[in-house]
């Protein structure tokens, strides 16, 4: 995975790795807030990447998540775009259309404006592609599962037979 979680001390070094990796393949680099992560895109430019990350969060906003799981959505879209020129154009044009419909910059627009922009586009192929990818990427991320309280694979742990399948303790006594 090109997206890397970075400790602050390693940020500069790793960010330059990411930049070098991206330079080799022609895509942009997106650096997360405080350098917590870096996303090296292989096809899309950084502006498109940033817009897609914001759009992914606007579609499925979880205040408890930082941007890293949303950046993975942009990464999934970028990887698909690298193999599909038509998709790359759909995403690049779509991000530009978001900017235009938001009065110049989707990223700088207020939430209300951004949501109005999305509502106006929700039947477009661009919107549908991004929304579908968020559903199958964001909610398929084990880091997200942990935050939502889903424990994932259980067979290798012996199932839940001795790990709380029936541990509910708050139902009143039936009377």
């Amino acid at each position: 995975m090109a997206i890397k979680k970075l400790g602050r001390r390693t940020f500069l070094k790793s960010a330059s790795f990411a930049a070098a990796a991206a330079a080799a393949t022609g895509g942009g680099v997106v650096i997360g807030p405080n350098g917590a992560w870096a996303l090296a895109l292989s096809k899309l430019d950084a502006a498109t990447g940033k817009t897609l990350i914001r759009m992914a969060r606007d579609l499925y906003p979880h205040d408890q998540f930082d941007d890293a799981p949303y950046a993975k959505v942009a990464e999934a879209l970028d990887q698909a775009a690298a193999k599909d020129e038509a998709l790359a154009k759909l995403l690049t044009d779509g991000a530009a259309a978001l900017d235009k419909a938001s009065g110049g910059s989707y990223l700088k627009a207020k939430e209300e404006r951004r949501l109005a922009t999305l509502v106006g586009m929700q039947t477009d192929p661009f919107f549908q592609k991004v929304r579908g990818t968020v559903v199958t990427t964001l909610y398929n991320d084990p880091d997200v599962w942990k935050k939502l309280g889903y424990e994932g694979s259980s067979a290798e742990q012996g199932g839940y037979i001795s790990r709380g399948f029936d541990d509910i303790d708050w139902l009143p006594k039936q009377g």
Binding site: V135, G149, Y160, L171
Partner: protein, 522 residues
């Protein structure tokens, strides 16, 4: 394992290795009959199964192209995926939840009991519950169904306890952990349920009955079974007299072969079985095989389904443990006073986060949806499954505009809800929410139907040849050595999960076929 020649015209060819085909294969092999079992999917074993929803879906599901039409919401949300069924050795018995309920007596004679409901094509089955009872008993024993044969029920998980509490508070009486083909104690060489969850992803412990690791290896042990995975049947051939003579299939490399046969049994489910009969049209049978009635592909039923998911103040962790070991049966009764005919069951259901995101409210986005997902660990869930009405316009047709990789027209699945289905669903939404509400739910979601898991009726059983495709033994009215051995035989659907009845019919059909072969009738 046996290996028969392609030219061996003494074999019984069975198409599909799921509940119907896999069971029939074993039953015939146990009687010493030579069987070639053709399965379109690969042989994935228990060790291949993964506790990961999307990964398992990709491994087990039938993902070849299909199209949809009609007013059902599946057409809108999942237009290329009408059904959530499997293409793998064991068929959908790898994926099923294990609920094993007998049909009720009145459900075999709905035309008589419900009357002439406008817009429906209701018909009485040519058999009764009494006819099937001895075979139901054999099926329950074979599958190790809990609450039969002295087998204890499964323990209730958190999701069940929530449903049970609410249901009893509302006054429902028939509330328990179900009749499940999942071992609650070791049986038949398989261990007991480890409360893993992921029943839909293939049971990693083998506690859940599946033909993959029960019927099929037992059939192999007889030395009579020639199982060919990766063999997709393209056409059924017939001789000049009109009898089925063999089948053409593509192997995993795409090479075509013709396997000769004494008898052909179609068990590819209610979408692929009629598609195969229609795709086998010939000069003699221009409308497809066994289709003199015009009923092949018609009267498609998918059960009235829906789900209710609710959020509670405190954690539930509904995904822990057996997915469907919980049932409320009171609404399955015959009671037209509720504003609809037929009945429905509440059964516990959970989805993991990946599938919950895809299915809770398909297409939805925004803060409200994300907020629901934020409460995932506090959710309880139930599935609603009830009898839907057979309608002649609902069904499988060949979509000549879309071809599969073999160049054959794919199945189009058309479905419109009948007003009776809608009335039942609305009733069930209200009652289901009330159950969770009585247990303290803060908010409930009314989740629309998933892609169909219960696909029924498209080669239905009928007394008279003009009303359906097969007789009371699943033998086609038109061609005496051509049988249908899956859920497409169902004349009507009942309120109950269909697998037990499919297995029951397969056991009964095996007796009929063996007897007819011995008497040289076929």
């Amino acid at each position: 394992m046996a290996k028969y020649e392609l030219s061996d015209d003494s074999v019984v060819v069975i198409i599909g290795s799921g509940a119907g085909g896999g069971t029939l294969a074993n039953e015939l092999c146990q009687k010493g009959i030579k069987v070639v079992l053709l399965e379109a999917g690969q042989r994935n074993e228990i060790e291949d199964f993964v506790n990961n929803e999307w990964e398992a879906f990709g491994m087990l599901s039938w993902l070849d192209p299909r199209t949809t039409s009609g007013t059902w919401r599946v057409h809108q949300d999942f237009s290329g995926l009408p059904a959530w069924i499997c293409k793998t050795v064991g068929g959908s018995t790898t994926h099923w939840a294990g609920a094993s309920l007998r049909l009720q007596e009145h459900e075999f004679k709905t035309r008589t009991v419900y009357g002439d409901i406008p817009g429906t094509n209701l018909l009485d089955w040519p058999i009764t519950l009494a006819d099937l009872e001895p075979y139901y008993a054999k099926a329950e024993d074979k599958m190790g169904v809990t609450r039969t044969n002295g087998i204890p029920g499964l323990p209730g998980n958190n999701n069940f306890k929530v449903m049970e509490y609410g249901a009893r508070k509302l006054g429902y009486k028939e509330v328990h952990t179900g009749r499940m083909a999942i071992n609650s104690q070791p049986r038949d060489g398989r261990g007991s349920c480890q409360q893993i969850g992921f029943c839909f992803a293939g049971c990693k412990s083998g506690a859940k009955w599946s033909t993959l690791y029960t019927e099929i290896p037992k059939a192999e042990a007889t030395g009579k079974l020639d199982l060919r995975p990766g063999a997709q049947v393209l056409q059924i051939n017939h001789d000049d007299s009109g009898k089925a003579s063999g089948v053409v299939y593509a192997d995993a490399e795409g090479n075509h072969h013709e396997q000769k046969a004494r008898i052909v049994c179609v068990a590819g489910n209610s979408i692929e079985s009629p598609r195969l009969l229609l795709n086998s049209a010939s000069g003699k049978y221009p409308d497809g095989l066994a289709n003199s009635s015009g009923m092949v592909g018609k009267n498609y039923m998918r059960h009235m389904t829906a789900s209710v998911y609710s959020i509670f103040e405190k954690p539930v962790h509904m995904y822990r443990g057996t997915t469907m070991a919980g049932i409320v049966q009171d609404e399955a009764r015959l009671d037209p006073g509720r504003g609809f005919v037929g009945g429905y069951e509440f059964e516990t259901l959970s989805l993991g986060v990946p599938f919950m995101a895809a299915f809770l409210d398909p297409g939805a986005w925004g803060r409200q949806f994300a907020s629901a997902m934020d409460h995932y660990s506090h959710m309880a869930g139930m599935w609603i499954v009830g009898e839907d009405m057979p309608q002649e316009k609902n069904g499988i047709t060949l979509n000549k505009d879309v071809k599969d990789k073999f160049g054959l027209p794919v199945a189009n699945v058309h479905f419109d809800d009948h007003p009776n289905d809608v009335a039942m669903r609305n009733h069930a939404y209200i009652q289901g929410s009330a159950i969770h509400g009585a247990a303290g739910a803060i908010q409930s979601f009314h989740t629309p139907p998933y892609p169909s898991t219960h696909n029924l009726g498209t080669n239905r059983m009928s007394e008279k040849a003009k009303d359906g495709v097969v007789n009371k033994h699943g033998q086609t009215h038109d061609i005496k050595n051509l049988f249908v051995s899956d859920g497409s035989q169902f004349t009507t659907g009942g309120a109950e999960n269909p697998t037990l009845t499919i297995v029951t019919l397969a056991i009964r059909q095996a007796d009929f076929i063996a007897d007819a072969m011995a008497k040289k009738e076929i």
